[in-house]
């Protein structure tokens, strides 16, 4: 199952030379197949703490599947998925992974449609997740301020009591980003955050993501098709194709790469 040279002992102190050392996210040889079709094919990717990474790739390249594997939605057939150098994510379920500090925005915006904007953010707010704790939960003034500040930041301050289901596609995207902010996670995975947004909204989102990445306390992985947006982020780009990494580097080097050109133009 595991490739010998990359086998990493979980929960044991690791010496120098362990490949995952110094990473916040470490994927090695990850494969996922659906009825024989390999959505991920020996995918390897290493993300440093505080790094902002963009991921591009044609439709069906496996970008969303990669996020599914990291967040526990899909179990890989093979390979290592480590968070924080040593936590084996393949053994945890979705809520445990979320509680480790990994947050996710879905490709298709998924907010709780029958709850208000405020309530959506309140549920995302970093706080005890236990059943009894939530039963007795009472929002403090400070927490209310945090929610208000986030609503202002995502441009939904005047929509506090609106049902999330009544928002436009772009606003749902923003709300979901807001929910991600409320969770205060260490690793953020954003799947096509600007799909369906206007140009100015896209620009504002890029600015928001750059703000989040600036202080280096979080790591972000952003999947996006919009090349203007990718350029605006100015981060290292990973190109995924048929379930594995095709190329990696700055946007300029990627765009000059003959393999990448072939994949994008050959379709």
């Amino acid at each position: 199952m595991l490739d010998d040279k990359f086998e990493v002992q979980v929960d044991e102190p690791h010496g120098p030379g362990v490949p995952a050392a110094g990473s916040i996210l470490y994927l090695d040889g990850v494969s996922v197949s659906f009825d024989g079709f390999k959505a991920l094919n020996a995918l390897s990717l290493i993300l440093a703490p505080g790094e902002l990474r963009t991921i591009v790739g044609p439709n069906g390249a496996g970008k969303t599947t990669m996020m599914d594997v990291i967040t526990g939605k899909t179990r890989p057939d093979e390979g290592d998925v480590l968070f924080d150098e040593k936590v084996d994510l393949t053994r945890l379920d979705e809520s445990e992974i979320a509680n480790l500090g990994i947050g996710r925005k879905f490709q298709k915006p998924t907010v709780f449609e029958h709850l208000s904007v405020f309530e959506n953010l309140e549920l995302a707010l970093k706080a005890d997740r236990g059943a009894f704790a939530t039963l007795m939960f009472w929002l403090s003034g400070e927490q209310r301020d945090t929610i208000d500040a986030t609503m202002a930041r995502i441009g939904l301050a005047d929509k506090s009591r609106h049902l999330a289901g009544a928002l436009s596609h772009g606003q749902k995207q923003w709300l979901e980003i807001g929910m991600l902010l409320m969770q205060d996670q260490r690793l953020l995975l954003l799947d096509e955050p600007v799909a369906g947004m206007t140009d100015s909204e896209t620009e504002a989102t890029a600015q928001l993501i750059l703000d989040l990445a600036r202080d280096g306390s979080r790591s972000l992985v952003v999947v996006e098709h919009d090349m203007e947006f990718v350029r605006a982020l100015g981060a290292k780009v990973t190109v995924l194709h048929e379930g594995s990494v095709l190329a990696e580097g700055t946007l300029e080097t990627i765009q000059a790469d003959s393999k990448v050109i072939e994949v994008y133009l050959g379709r």
Binding site: G72, A131, T134, L135, F137, M179
Partner: protein, 372 residues
């Protein structure tokens, strides 16, 4: 956990109409009805006969049961079709207490054993009947047994991510299995006939009109209390998580909540409320037998809630009264039609009134406002 949250949340004037409604119901059920029963002369048109008081008491227990159902179906999205089992278990617990209270007044005059055990030639009381001589123990069991069953059953089901139709089917199977078990004489719960011929409860003779009135009033109080508990839960953050689980269960996981525990809380609390309703129901009807476990009973509970409007609490109470009122009337007028009507009602509500009577009322009010 901060202390002021309980009173603050219950008194939060987010819906004054609701509190006025509750006060109105309290006056109607706890003052007006007893007065019509006690103070009006029997020949007056306004007199409320004793049988009517008991009938209302039964409806109140059904309403508590519907409330429990709404908590788990309307809020957590778990369509339990086995809630009749929790109700019946609560009923059996209270029935066992009243059985023990009969003492030597049974047909066989045996102070140590209930009649049906004497009839079966049993020599001593089975261990699981121990403690049921005490009211407090029986009352505790009326809550604890349904709660424990729901907890274990729910844990197994929710942990395995059994949802939707599959969950409904296994809850039906649960209540059906319990029905078959309780039919067996060897189980020690009176088999076919169940538990009956009760004489009194805590020394109050069950045949006395005053006892009936007391039980009725207790049922009204319990319904009010259950409503407050349920409302406390659904207006809490946990309540909003329940709704989130109902609408997008998998999304909730990625926020770090475990739907298993959220649903387990709702299911267990709901089963305990159902048990409480059953415990109050049995002294009023004077019998509990295995037919209470029949799968059709549980489906009927879901229909009450659907008719009233699920996910509203008030709708559940309304639905329980409306459907059971119709049932009482029709089983008198044309009993063979009842099941057809019930089926038709369910289809009509599902297709035409997805938000039930309460939704219909809201629609009418909005129209009136638009016209005004």
């Amino acid at each position: 956990m901060n202390a002021p949250s309980l009173s603050a949340r219950l008194l939060a004037a987010d819906d004054r109409r609701l509190w006025l409604g509750m006060a109105g119901c309290a006056i109607a059920f706890l003052v007006v009805v007893p007065m019509l029963n006690l103070a009006m002369p029997p020949d007056s048109a306004l007199h409320m006969p004793n049988y009517m008081v008991t009938l209302l008491g039964k409806y109140l227990c059904y309403a508590t049961l519907a409330l429990a159902m709404d908590l788990v179906w309307g809020y957590c999205g778990v369509l339990s079709l086995g809630h009749g089992a929790f109700f019946a278990l609560g009923g059996y617990a209270m029935g066992m207490f009243m059985m023990r209270s009969i003492g030597a007044r049974g047909v066989y005059g045996n102070a140590d054993l209930p009649d049906f055990m004497v009839f079966l030639n049993w020599k001593e009381l089975p261990w699981y009947w121990m403690g049921f001589d005490h009211f407090w123990f029986a009352a505790l069991m009326a809550l604890a047994v349904p709660g424990a069953l729901a907890f274990v059953f729910g844990w197994l089901a929710f942990r395995s991510r059994i949802t939707g139709v599959y969950l409904s089917i296994i809850t039906q199977a649960m209540t059906y299995a319990l029905m078959l078990a309780f039919f067996r004489n060897e189980m020690g719960f009176g088999g076919n006939n169940g538990l009956t011929d009760f004489k009194d409860i805590l020394g109050f003779p069950l045949a006395e009109p005053s006892t009936k009135l007391g039980l009725y009033m207790l049922s009204a109080l319990v319904l009010g209390l259950a409503f407050l508990v349920a409302r406390f839960v659904v207006t809490s953050k946990l309540g909003r998580i329940m709704m989130a689980v109902r609408d997008a269960e998998s999304r909730v996981r990625f926020l770090g909540y475990s739907p298993t525990w959220v649903k387990l809380f709702g299911f267990t609390l709901s089963a305990m409320l159902a048990g409480l309703a059953g415990a109050l129901y049995v002294p009023q009807v004077g019998i509990i037998n295995p037919s209470e476990f029949s799968p059709a009973n549980s489906i009927e509970i879901a229909i009450w809630v659907a008719v009233g409007g699920r996910g509203t609490l008030v709708g559940a109470v309304l639905g329980a009264f409306a459907v059971n009122g119709a049932k009482t009337w029709l089983t008198g007028a044309a009993p063979e039609l009842w099941l057809f009507l019930l089926g038709a009602l369910f289809i009509a509500v599902t297709l035409g009134l997805p938000k039930g009577l309460l939704g219909l009322w809201g629609q009418i009010r909005r129209k009136e406002k638009a016209h005004a």
